[in-house]
């Protein structure tokens, strides 16, 4: 299962105990109306991966999204994938397409400014 950090994702019913752990220990965010989970900067990604892989019996892979265009940043093809631990870095990155743009840094700053309004 791939989880895009900071983006909503669905989970099958995991049981009361696991759900409580996800909320209390892992510090995952849950939207009761939309019934979706979301990681935040406070989420313990190690625990989340361990707990979900044990519960769902499948490996958990994290991906980060491009802060400029919102798409998957493409970690598997990233030139820094061997040195970038996705459990330790912040939730957004930049995709190759946006990075190659002439004004990539200005676009990035603009997106942050827009998001903080």
């Amino acid at each position: 299962m791939e989880i895009l950090l900071g983006e909503p994702f669905h989970l099958p019913r995991v049981g009361e105990d696991v759900f409580r752990k996800l909320m209390r220990d892992v510090r995952l965010e849950y939207d009761r109306q939309k019934r979706v989970f979301r990681t935040t900067p406070q989420t313990d990604l190690y625990q989340l991966a361990t707990l979900l892989s044990q519960t769902l019996k499948e490996p958990i892979v994290y991906a980060v999204k491009c802060f400029i265009c919102g798409s998957n940043a493409g970690c598997s093809a990233c030139e820094y994938s061997s040195i970038c631990d996705r459990l330790l870095v912040s939730q957004n990155c930049i995709c190759k397409g946006c990075l190659s743009k002439e004004d990539a840094y200005a676009l990035y700053c603009m997106r942050v400014a827009e998001a903080s309004i």
Partner: protein
């Protein structure tokens, strides 16, 4: 220094940790008297200090910065901070109190400092921002419920590249793309290290990329997660070395992680034996104060635990006892308090005194009597079923 010269003046000009940056900016924008103070937690070089200054400048605050690891005794802290609690502005500008490296304060065992900060943040008329490198320290955890937490993580390499690339272009610096890429790789998510390395590379005739890092610290949680999950023994050792938590606390947390994880009894036994060997060395280091042996301690601890536990099974936990045992202790403590209250009423004393002074005598006396007689006496105390169960447990300690 490049790290100072090219420090962003606006929060939107920084890179990485977008959600925490935006959250902190909104916290400061909406701050009013009575709001919780902000606690920025994350490794060095992730932008905590830069954000405080950039946000303050953007929103018109003047920062009063105190480095908690410099001004760390209660007396010095109070003389530095108390005058500011009653001030609101300087020449019409609003003030913001920034206490950097609060974990440095606690690591040095400065008694009274923590209590002072706890009181200070509750009474201050000004927005207070605290910054720390690690969250897992027991003393920092005391501050967590009182603060609005903004977690900072390492900056993704591509974003460091983006920032440096823009800087190189803007300043007209002469550096090859390959060197820039190697520089990003060496930075390890630390923006300050990347900027300092860039400066070092530009100053060096060989353009050799050297690792320029400040005290790169790893939280206890990250260090132990690496120890339990990594497939590389040396990586596990390096993670333990990079974590500056007290060695006894490391042993204690590894112990609680082991006993709370689902390990079969043989594996658990092997792991606990390994841990006890490291514990002996830790005790010797503490006793003899031979801190040079610390490097052997970390190697020993990392390699022994690495070799005795399966990868990815042990889960970080700071609960000393498994939850079921904790629950039992908690329940018994609750019942004991109630026993103390009833006994205290009867003896016209406080419940604490009744528990500490009189209950052991009562339990000893009752342990000498036969069961029927004991039940008759205890009914006279109006103890209920759960209280009788706990009292019987106390009595059984003496009858053994």
């Amino acid at each position: 220094m490049y790290a100072e010269r090219f420090r962003p003046k606006n929060p939107s000009m920084m890179v990485g940790n977008e959600e925490s940056r935006i959250g902190f900016l909104n916290w400061l924008k909406n701050w009013k008297k009575g709001s919780k103070p902000a606690l920025l937690v994350g490794p060095p070089g992730t932008g905590k200090t830069t954000l405080v200054y950039a946000a303050a400048e953007t929103l018109g605050f003047v920062v009063l910065e105190f480095n908690a690891s410099d001004v760390r005794t209660k007396e010095r802290l109070s003389s530095a901070l108390l005058p500011s609690t009653h001030s609101v502005s300087v020449l019409g500008e609003r003030l913001l109190v920034f206490l950097d490296e609060v974990d440095g304060l606690y690591a040095r065992q400065d008694y009274g400092g923590l209590e002072f900060i706890q009181t200070f943040i509750e009474e201050s008329n000004l927005p207070v921002v605290l910054a720390a490198n690690v969250e897992d320290d027991e003393r920092i955890r005391k501050l967590l419920p009182k603060c609005e937490i903004f977690a900072f993580k390492r900056v993704p390499p591509r974003l460091i590249y983006l920032y440096l690339q823009n800087l190189v272009k803007k300043e007209g610096l002469r550096i090859t793309q390959e060197t820039l890429r190697r520089l990003v790789e060496k930075a390890g998510g630390d923006m300050r290290a990347a900027l300092n390395s860039l400066q070092a590379v530009l100053a060096s005739p060989s353009s050799e990329v050297v690792e320029v890092t400040r005290d790169k610290m790893v939280s206890l949680r990250d260090a132990l997660n690496t120890l339990f999950n990594s497939n590389d023994r040396d990586e596990a050792r390096r993670a333990l070395e990079a974590c500056d938590t007290d060695i006894v606390e490391k042993i204690r947390t590894i112990f609680s992680s082991l006993v709370n994880s689902k390990l079969d009894s043989q594996t658990l036994l092997r792991a606990l034996e390994a841990l006890s060997a490291a514990d002996e060395l830790a005790a010797r280091i503490k006793r003899t104060q031979e801190w040079r042996q610390l490097r052997y301690f970390h190697s020993m601890l990392a390699y022994l635990i690495f070799d005795s536990t399966p990868r990815g099974v042990v889960r970080f936990s700071q609960d000393v006892y498994p939850w079921s045992v904790q629950l039992r202790i908690w329940n018994d403590a609750r019942v004991l308090r109630s026993i103390g209250r009833k006994l205290g009423n009867l003896l016209h004393t406080s419940s604490t005194e009744a528990l500490v002074v009189y209950l052991p005598y009562l339990a000893r006396l009752l342990s000498l009597l036969d069961k029927v007689e004991v039940q008759r006496i205890l009914r006279g105390f109006t103890y209920d079923e759960s209280e009788l169960r706990v009292l019987n447990k106390e009595m059984s300690r003496f009858s053994k």
